[in-house]
């Protein structure tokens, strides 16, 4: 397609053409209306003048006979810019007036007609057109009064010429304007198309140009760019997911394989084989666990499970899960305190929220440090190693697990909440290590977020969720 052909096919150019045609048609109709009205107006004026003259002359004839009429007509005929006059005998011989010649037969009928004529003071051969009225006077004399209509024709012609020119100018200007507008639009669309092509070729970093004018193309570009941002984030996430799935599943798979190999090589007795097989089963259970966690995160990330949400009290969840983990914490010499007076109503998946909270508590138990006095009665002002709380803050519900462990360096906090991102040192810890990712994904699914703060010392992990009104659900 040539550049011009492409230009002519643009929507902007086609629109220009349509508007141009409409405008030209409108202009033509307007001018035609003017022309017709001007013509009618002039004709009416001529008719009125002629009628007045005819009735005046007829009066003069009645009062003074043919002699007086001839006299008056002679006087009027000589005035500059006068009407046409002709007084004739019943057999058509001219008696007075300023008409040299007429179309033959003009005087035969009375009434209105258009005719060609020549004035007396004009040279032979010239011819004009006039609108005349022929009337018969008592006694058989004929009286013709008329006005030249060339002027009417001239006005008509001027309007026609003006019409043609203005339409021509409109068309030319319109085409030029359309050309430039289309070229401008085409340029921007071409730039967008080009970017789209590079993106399709696999370079997701490209963005549509934004002119900054805030017009509809800019808005489109902005939205498309936002969409591209989202797609890029998803793609990056997807890549991270596959990388991490590979890591999370391959590491235990390798361990599993090594155990089996070692057993084949070294085990001699039944008991040794049995022990090896048991560890193999243990490893595979761990694998299944990791796989389940990955599945839940993936589903939550995809926004699935939107159905089946109910309104329930998060404080009750905090108490329940806290109670589940309290003996485990105690066994490790840690005091776990739940502070959830409730109610803190939220709308969501009870099971997933419970699991997210369980993961946070599990993490806290892993990392918290026993305090010397933790086993005895609580010293006043002493913070328990693990604090689980649920509360309402404005229109939000906060589920918090705070520990006194090593915490997470501030620079890593934002990073660690991103799905599937884990700190290198935590990868070596037992468990699937996906706890924070899962909690974050679950919070996201519920239009909330996982917040990590410094507990000085330790980590304070908060699941922030929108609060549900007691009335909803």
């Amino acid at each position: 397609m040539t550049a011009l052909g492409k230009l002519l096919r643009t929507t902007a150019f086609r629109l220009t053409l349509v508007y141009l045609a409409l405008f030209a048609l409108f202009a033509a109709l307007l001018l035609a209306f003017f022309a017709l009205n001007a013509r009618r107006l002039i004709t009416e004026q001529i008719t009125a003048i002629i009628n007045a003259e005819v009735s005046g002359l007829a009066e003069q004839y009645e009062q003074g006979g043919i002699r007086r009429l001839v006299l008056i007509v002679d006087v009027r005929s000589r005035r500059p810019g006068s009407s046409l006059y002709l007084v004739a005998t019943p057999n058509g011989e001219g008696l007075a007036g300023n008409v040299a010649s007429l179309e033959p037969g003009t005087l035969d009928h009375t009434g209105w007609m258009e005719t060609a004529y020549r004035r007396l003071d004009e040279p032979e051969g010239t011819e004009h057109h006039a609108f005349v009225r022929v009337s018969e006077l008592p006694g058989g004399f004929r009286l013709l009064v008329g006005r030249d209509i060339e002027e009417r024709q001239r006005i008509y012609d001027i309007i026609a010429v003006a019409g043609r020119w203005s339409i021509a100018v409109v068309v030319v200007l319109g085409l030029i304007g359309g050309f430039f507008v289309s070229r401008r639009v085409l340029k921007r669309v071409d730039a967008m198309t080009e970017t789209a092509q590079t993106i399709m070729a696999g370079d997701l970093t490209g963005r549509l140009p934004v002119a900054g004018t805030g017009d509809e193309l800019d808005r489109l570009a902005l939205y498309v760019n936002a969409m591209l941002d989202r797609i890029e984030a998803l793609m990056r996430g997807f890549k991270e997911v596959s990388d991490n799935v590979a890591h999370d599943l391959k590491t235990p798979l390798t361990r599993l394989r090594n155990r089996a190999e070692a057993a084949l090589r070294n085990a001699k007795t039944d008991a040794e084989f049995r022990a090896a097989l048991e560890t193999v089963i243990e490893e595979s259970d761990g694998l299944i666990r990791t796989f389940d966690a990955l599945l839940i995160i993936a589903r939550a990330e995809a926004g699935e499970n939107g159905r089946g949400m109910v309104v329930f009290d998060a404080a009750e969840i905090a108490r329940g899960v806290g109670e589940l983990y309290e003996p485990l914490a105690e066994e490790k010499g840690l005091r776990l305190v739940v502070e959830a007076p409730g109610p803190a109503m939220i709308r969501g998946h009870r099971e997933l929220i419970s699991q997210a909270l369980a993961n946070l508590i599990d993490n806290a138990i892993k990392y918290a440090a026993p305090t010397p006095c933790s086993s005895g009665s609580a010293t006043r002002g002493e913070r328990p190693p693990i604090m689980v709380s649920a509360g309402v803050d404005g229109d939000r519900v906060l589920l918090t697990v705070a520990d006194n462990g090593p915490g997470i360096p501030e620079g890593d906090r934002a990073h660690v909440v991103e799905r599937f991102v884990r700190l290198e040192q935590s990868r070596s810890q037992p468990g699937s290590g996906l706890g924070l990712s899962l909690a974050s994904a679950v919070a996201g699914l519920h239009h909330g977020a996982l917040k990590l703060d410094d507990n000085a010392p330790g980590l304070k992990a908060t699941i922030v969720l929108p609060r549900a009104d007691a009335g909803t659900g």
């Binding site: 595979s284 839940i296 589940l324 998946h349 699991q355």
Partner: protein, 231 residues
């Protein structure tokens, strides 16, 4: 059903390897397992009845697992059904139970888990809902919430009471950690760490400590069991 009694099971599952393994494994522990490879055959076999428990896979040729269960329930076949499925999310579980299943186990599973659940289902059919559970000299009154061992009354936290209640309801049977988590705590997720073990050891210290005869036993690789050790 009592220990030593054997169960008649029907496994409706299209994976040959899995079926063969299950049939063999159930036979080894003294149960009789038959199998059907698709939904249609399974439905016909189950209609004739005589099974204690049906083990139904969700995705089956010819007739979907949930459809088979629905059709059986419509024909007033009340045999307990355990659904096996690769779909392990909460939603899937709820859907399975709503379709008429009595229990739901996600693949992959440990055989010990399946066995414990199937035995619990078969027992449930017996309709044992006593108000007082007794194992040896341990007595649990479900109405007054009193627990007595020998002559001593034992003070239990509400959750410990429910834990003991569930264990005693299934006295003589293996109860897995997952079963406890689901039935005592009503959680269906994996708590990563074995939190249940700690609860059990707390309970054990209350009911067994100081008595010559331990009642709460750990079954290696499977779970826990309350039984009269003298038998």
């Amino acid at each position: 059903m009592h220990p030593g009694d054997f169960m008649r099971l029907l496994i409706i599952e299209d994976d040959r390897d899995a079926t063969d393994y299950l049939v063999k494994a159930f036979r080894e522990v003294g149960h009789v397992a038959e199998h059907a490879a698709d939904g249609e055959d399974g439905f016909q076999l189950a209609l004739d009845g005589g099974y204690d428990v049906l083990i139904v896979d969700r995705m089956l040729p010819k007739r979907d697992g949930l459809a088979v269960i629905g059709a059986l329930r419509a024909k007033a076949v009340a045999t307990p059904v355990l659904i096996l499925s690769a779909l392990g999310q909460v939603d899937d579980r709820v859907k399975g139970l709503r379709a008429g299943g009595d229990d739901y186990l996600a693949k992959p599973y440990a055989f010990a888990e399946l066995l414990a659940r199937v035995e619990a289902l078969a027992r449930r059919r017996g309709g044992r809902e006593d108000t007082v559970y007794r194992v040896a000299d341990l007595e649990l009154d479900r109405l007054s919430h009193r627990v007595v061992r020998g002559k001593d009354e034992i003070q239990l936290q509400p959750r410990e009471f429910r834990l003991l209640e569930y264990l005693m309801k299934h006295a003589g049977q293996v109860v897995t950690r997952t079963m406890l988590l689901e039935n005592v705590w009503d959680y269906h997720f994996d708590p990563q760490t074995n939190v249940i073990d700690v609860h059990i050891s707390r309970l054990r210290s209350k009911i067994d400590k100081g008595f010559a005869q331990p009642l709460l036993h750990t079954v290696r690789g499977a779970g826990y069991m309350i039984r009269d050790g003298a038998r």
